[in-house]
């Protein structure tokens, strides 16, 4: 199903998705929104990996294996990150990343 779509279309869309996620990570004022940005970035990486696998090495499984591992890491990251946020919220009643600084030197 890839007739007529050049590889760089996928790469540019995933670059845009990555940068939107990066903006979310840097600019949001709520830790949950920051983690949403991280998820967008991981999705961009996955699009890249699968596009490269399909266009360049469709006979090798390295690309899709990496993509599968990114799924695993994203799930683990979301679970632990959101657990941390709930714990922090319970203790400080705040989810502002600028206020969560008790580990700062």
């Amino acid at each position: 199903m890839i007739n007529g779509i050049p590889l760089y279309w996928y790469l540019i869309v995933s670059a845009a998705l990555f940068c939107i996620g990066l903006y979310g990570v840097m600019a949001r004022k709520n830790v949950i929104a920051v983690i949403m940005g991280v998820e967008l970035m991981l999705n961009a990486v996955n699009i890249n990996l699968i596009a490269f696998w399909r266009y360049i090495t469709p006979t090798s499984i390295s690309g899709i294996t990496f993509a599968a591992f990114i799924f695993v890491v994203a799930a683990a990251e979301a679970a632990v990150g959101l657990a941390l946020i709930i714990s922090i919220y319970r203790n400080t009643r705040s989810v502002d990343p600028e206020k969560i600084d008790s580990m700062k030197l």
């Binding site: 050049p6 869309v13 600019a27 949001r28």
Partner: protein, 231 residues
């Protein structure tokens, strides 16, 4: 234009538009819902890339599990749900993200800009960036992926490590998010109070620190009330 190209453009508009809404809406609950739309569009990309297994995994893992986690987290931190749109450095963040995107686009795309007589972009990659995929789609790639993941000579060990990572993450998440009770809760509350006294000496305290004890008490009370209502 082929049908695939039109599909690609529609899907990328959906993905990028909802991603922009995810990082800009004030209401975090709406942001979580737009995140679901964005994930769904990415699953569409996987279908276009002949990776049906990954499209299914995307729907199951991201839409089925991760976004539910997000919605739960948004609901549990509800009184701060309408946060400000961005922090004090959002303009700098937008500029940095835009510049990084321009650099990546110039590196990846078949176009270039000329600044002071020097051409930037249109990089010479060792593979065809603008060509279509010539090779045929692999037929049974899920089977190949599965055997590769359990074969110790290929990706068996990383696969086991990924399983251990998931287990550790699950146990860790339960441990971190558990509700403290009794003496543990008192100790944690005391520690938090000391921390805040240390750290925020120059900032006025906005509200008294909620003790975890009282919180559990309230929860207990409301549960009792619900029970009596039922009776």
């Amino acid at each position: 234009m082929t049908l695939q190209q039109i599909l690609f453009i529609v899907i990328s508009l959906v993905v990028l538009g909802s991603a922009v809404l995810v990082v800009t809406t004030r209401n975090l609950f709406h942001a979580a819902l737009f995140l679901v739309v964005s994930f769904f569009g990415v699953a569409g990309f996987y279908v276009l890339l002949d990776a049906g297994f990954f499209a299914a995994a995307q729907v199951l893992v991201y839409i089925g599990a991760i976004s539910i986690l997000f919605i739960f987290a948004v609901m549990l931190t509800r009184d701060v749900i309408t946060a400000q749109r961005g922090n004090s450095q959002w303009q700098a963040a937008a500029i940095v993200a835009g510049v990084i995107f321009l650099i990546m686009a110039l590196l990846l795309g078949p176009f270039s800009v000329t600044i002071r007589g020097r051409e930037f972009g249109n990089a010479n990659w060792p593979f065809a960036m603008d060509g279509n995929a010539i090779k045929a789609a692999p037929g049974n790639f899920v089977g190949i992926l599965g055997t590769g993941l359990v074969d110790l000579n290929q990706y068996g060990v990383p696969f086991l490590l990924a399983a251990v990572l998931l287990l550790v993450a699950m146990v860790g998440a339960i441990w971190v998010a558990r509700e403290l009770r009794g003496r543990e809760a008192e100790r944690a509350a005391a520690e938090t109070a000391v921390d805040d006294a240390d750290m925020d000496a120059n900032q006025p305290v906005q509200e008294p620190l909620p003790l975890i004890e009282t919180e559990t008490h309230e929860a207990h009370d409301s549960r009792n009330a619900a029970a009596t209502e039922k009776h």
